[in-house]
């Protein structure tokens, strides 16, 4: 087991190296750099462009060096915990992201709990009553959740929340609480805003999860040990929960890996529509403005989390299910 974990950790290294190169290439690829768009912006506003200052900035941020040199500066910086500097915010990347992290985590965890609370009962219901009207109905609802573009659902729900409950448009708190310390009324205000993003982000995920719980549980329910358990007179609920449900949860554990980055990134597009102060819109804006260290380091951080998440779920799977072989993986 220890050897397995050690090997898996070693395998992460080449993956992360390729990832960092890929991310850097993608961020470098659009023509121009942040300074160029900065100069253009200054000119558009009719302000004088101080050439000496531009030269200084170019020097300072290393735009005069070759991309390969910059790549190595960036990577070696990250190794010692220096994620670079955001041009647009004129702050270190860690400070910019850190400000928004708390809210992002709140929204994400609320969404995950919502998804689980809805998806598990429905998935189990659909699997135990396959081809019933309820099963068809939930399947259709789930597909509908996938089919409606998220940003549109967000807009419509935000509008309805405003019309029905008088919730203010956009953001996570009423305007009068912005910048106030946390208090009971502020907390209630957050709660009244939270349900829109949670439902919108949750719908698509819930639909996918219901389908997978249903499929996995159906596979298990067909097996002979379930028939045996029933024949021996085990209570139907126990005969469902004790073994088949537990066995069908393997997929769920392997999903935990992808949860980790999702918690941090937040659903970008929905967050933009609802003007939530989460990290998603920050990342999108950074990509659009070519704020390259902010975008690059954040993407890198996300993929690091994915890799760690996959590692955690692999270890958990190997630990929970002895049938999963440690040496060969999936290969024959």
């Amino acid at each position: 087991m220890f050897y397995y974990i050690f090997r898996r950790v070693l395998m992460m290294i080449p993956t992360l190296i390729i990832t960092s190169a890929l991310i850097f290439a993608i961020i470098e690829a659009p023509p121009g750099d942040y300074l160029e768009s900065y100069i253009a912006e200054l000119k558009a506003q009719g302000e004088a462009v101080d050439n000496a200052r531009i030269e200084y900035l170019r020097e300072e941020y290393g735009f005069n060096k070759s991309p390969i040199e910059r790549y190595f500066t960036w990577v070696s910086g990250m190794l010692v915990g220096d994620f670079g500097y955001s041009f647009a915010y004129e702050l270190p990347v860690t400070a910019v992201v850190g400000d928004r992290l708390f809210l992002t985590v709140v929204v994400s965890i609320a969404t995950i709990i919502f998804t689980w609370l809805i998806a598990f009962p429905i998935g189990i219901y659909s699997a135990t009553r396959q081809y019933s009207w309820g099963d068809y109905g939930f399947t259709f609802l789930g597909l509908l959740g996938i089919a409606i573009p998220n940003f549109l659902l967000a807009l419509v729900l935000m509008y309805l929340a405003n019309v029905w409950f008088g919730t203010s448009i956009g953001g996570l708190v009423d305007p009068e609480f912005v910048g106030q310390p946390m208090s009971w009324p502020k907390f209630m205000s957050v709660l009244s805003h939270l349900w829109v993003p949670v439902i919108v982000i949750g719908t698509a995920g819930t639909a996918g999860m219901v389908r997978r719980i249903r499929a996995n549980l159906l596979d298990e329910l067909q097996k002979q040990y379930v028939t045996t358990a029933r024949a021996k007179g085990l209570h139907p609920f126990r005969a469902l929960v004790k073994y088949p449900l537990r066995m069908s949860l393997n997929f769920f554990i392997s999903d935990i890996g992808s949860l980790l980055p999702a918690v941090i990134s937040g659903a970008e597009v929905v967050a933009i529509v609802l003007s939530l102060e989460t990290t998603g819109p920050l990342l999108i804006a950074a990509l659009q403005k070519q704020d390259m260290y902010l975008a690059g380091s954040f993407l890198m951080f996300l993929s690091l989390l994915t890799v760690i998440g996959v590692l955690i779920s692999d270890i958990a799977l190997a630990w929970l299910d002895p049938r999963i072989r440690l040496s060969g993986g999936v290969r024959k």
């Binding site: 390729i18 089919a147 998220n150 990342l283 990509l287 975008a295 996300l302 994915t306």
Partner: protein
């Protein structure tokens, strides 16, 4: 699977001695039909039984046919601006006027500018009965930009209007724009899946059949691509497309981007299928009979998972349609004058549109319908392609 080191494969031989398959057991005609049916025919039989999939398939076929004749179906041209009817609400179709049967018609609008809030108000005027003309000569168009024509399925009455889904901020008919938008929205998914299918089959196929270093490398690459969040990646790639490109080139660029990020799942499927299939007895048999790699792959292995592959690809199409919608919504996808459903929805992206001009949300209806139809159709195809069900 592998021959001993010093052995050479035999020349490829298939015995041509006469062989009577019915020598041992006589089959009934029905059994014969079943046993002799090709894989495609078996799939079709199974597919027909899946009613939602069949209906979805027909629905999609009709839609794809419609994009061939968009000009004829739409009552207006894509860019026709009715400057007197900006943000006009949908006109509903009536059949009876004052208890008298007139046939399908709409009431013309009276326009008034509300001086309190400067909102344009359109009131249907019950005196203006404007019968809808069918199979008529309407506004001139250029069929596929080539042939001039004016024949349309339905047109507004002379000097009348026909806005069944209202108009947008330039007074363009929303229904007509949806009909034209189908051209882009429906094909972008197909082309994107085409790109990802080619990449997935080639890379996954090489990795699965030859294994070794290429396999390890491609697996790492797939892992890397899958570990990156998709929307930022789309954005970053879409930002690479130069602004100077013409809209039609951008359209192809976007399809390639959508395809570039989607092939990983397909490549994994192909690889794992090949890995399991190449251990099958019939592959070993072909090998000892001396068939070369190309023959084994294309003659024996590809037919084994082609149907499954097509079903998987079908299910990926709606993701691409939604992806285009999202990219266009963020202003990084297609740009006018190219009109897709996603581009149309960018008009409805603020809360004002939802509150004041809800008919601008109509383009979401075809998006939902098409995504649903593709999901059912793909499910049916996948079930039909699975020989063990």
């Amino acid at each position: 699977m592998t021959l001993p080191a010093n052995a050479t494969p035999l020349p490829h031989t298939v015995s041509d001695r006469p062989f009577d398959p019915d020598a041992i057991y006589q089959f009934t005609d029905a059994q014969k039909a079943l046993f002799e049916a090709s894989q495609l025919r078996l799939m079709w039989w199974k597919f027909k039984r899946h009613k939602p999939a069949l209906i979805s398939g027909i629905f999609l076929a009709v839609l794809y046919f419609s994009i061939l004749i968009s000009e004829i179906l739409a009552p207006y041209n894509l860019e026709t601006r009715n400057s007197k009817f900006i943000y006009a609400p949908p006109q509903s179709v009536h059949l009876f006027h004052n208890g008298e049967f007139v046939g399908p018609f709409v009431y013309g609008f009276d326009f008034k500018l509300n001086m309190d809030n400067l909102k344009r108000e359109y009131v249907p005027n019950p005196d203006k009965v404007q019968p809808i003309r069918f199979f008529c000569s309407g506004e001139k168009y250029k069929f596929w930009g080539l042939i001039e024509g004016s024949f349309r399925l339905m047109c507004p009455a002379k000097n009348g209007t026909l806005f069944l889904m209202g108009t947008d901020r330039l007074g363009r008919d929303v229904l007509s724009r949806i009909i034209y938008g189908a051209r882009i929205s429906l094909t972008i998914g197909l082309l994107g899946v085409g790109v990802s299918l080619v990449l997935g089959v080639v890379i996954g196929g090489l990795a699965g059949y030859y294994g070794g270093l290429f396999d390890t490398l491609s697996q790492r690459l797939i892992e890397v691509i899958q570990s990156l969040p998709s929307i930022p990646l789309w954005l970053a790639l879409a930002a690479i497309l130069p602004i100077t490109w013409s809209p039609i080139v951008v359209y192809f660029g976007i399809t390639v981007i959508l395809g570039l990020l989607d092939w990983t799942g397909l490549a994994r499927t192909v690889r794992s299928k090949l890995l399991s299939l190449r251990e099958e007895d019939y592959v070993s048999a072909a090998q000892v009979m001396g068939a070369n790699d190309r023959r084994i792959v294309f003659r024996h292995l590809v037919p084994g998972f082609a149907s499954h592959l097509i079903a998987t690809a079908t299910i990926a199409i709606p993701t691409m349609i939604l992806g285009e919608t999202t990219l266009s919504f963020l202003g990084l996808g297609l740009r006018p004058p190219i009109t897709s459903w996603g581009v149309l929805l960018t008009e409805a992206q603020n809360i004002n549109a939802v509150a004041l001009y809800p008919w601008l949300l109509w383009p979401v209806a075809p998006v939902i319908l098409v995504v649903l139809a593709y999901n059912f159709f793909g499910d049916g195809l996948r079930d039909a392609a699975d020989p063990y069900k």
